[in-house]
């Protein structure tokens, strides 16, 4: 009788569980970081003068270092299917973002919508990309 169950315990199962735990820990930390950055971007008053110039430069330098490290760190916990799905989700997010920005600009030029909001577009792109990635991973 063939056993096609997905719960049998063995060396491979233990290794897989350890891998998944590491992946979810890193994913949770990354999502928390992204939510924190999003909240900081949207909180309080907006526009020029919200940050001291030196603080703004320090924040950009910190982000320049942290962002690629976080991407690399999360990438290392993914297998090839997850990396493939991440590429597909990123491509979907980019196309959705370009489409939304173009439509919003056209509506703005027609006097039908306020000026496009860069932060809103960025956060919406991130949310769409994450949702698409989750869908692809579930389908796998």
């Amino acid at each position: 009788m063939m056993n096609l169950s997905t719960t049998r315990e063995g060396d491979g199962v233990r290794a897989a569980r350890k891998r998944m735990q590491r992946h979810w820990r890193v994913t949770a930390l990354s999502v928390l970081g992204a939510v924190a950055i999003g909240a900081i971007m949207l909180a309080g008053k907006t526009g020029p003068g919200r940050l001291q110039p030196i603080h703004a430069i320090a924040a950009v330098v910190a982000l320049t270092i942290v962002f690629p490290l976080a991407i690399r760190w999360t990438d290392r916990t993914k297998d090839e299917l997850a990396r493939h799905n991440a590429l597909r989700a990123n491509s979907f997010g980019l196309h959705a973002s370009l489409f939304a920005a173009c439509c919003w600009m056209i509506l703005f030029f027609g006097g039908l919508a306020p000026q496009p909001d860069l932060i809103l577009l960025t956060l919406a792109t991130a949310a769409l990309t994450l949702a698409r990635y989750a869908m692809l991973q579930r389908a796998g």
Partner: protein, 68 residues
């Protein structure tokens, strides 16, 4: 791409999670390969072949899977 992965796994009484752990990939990746939704990379195909002590072409067939 057609393959015999599900059969080979069943012969060893391994779950998808067990095979994924031995190959260093997720259960979803094993499922996607078995159902032909994902073609493994060459390094992963070699790892699979080594694990089952077979040649790649004895596991994978380049004929596409057609949905009924």
């Amino acid at each position: 791409m057609k393959n015999r992965l599900k059969l080979l796994r069943a012969e060893r009484d391994w779950s998808q999670l067990e095979l994924g752990g031995r190959l260093g990939v997720s259960r979803q990746a094993v499922n996607a390969i078995e159902t032909g939704k994902h073609d493994p990379s060459l390094p992963l195909a070699f790892r699979i072949a080594r694990l089952f002590d077979l040649r790649i072409e004895e596991i994978f067939d380049d004929e596409p899977i057609h949905d009924a």
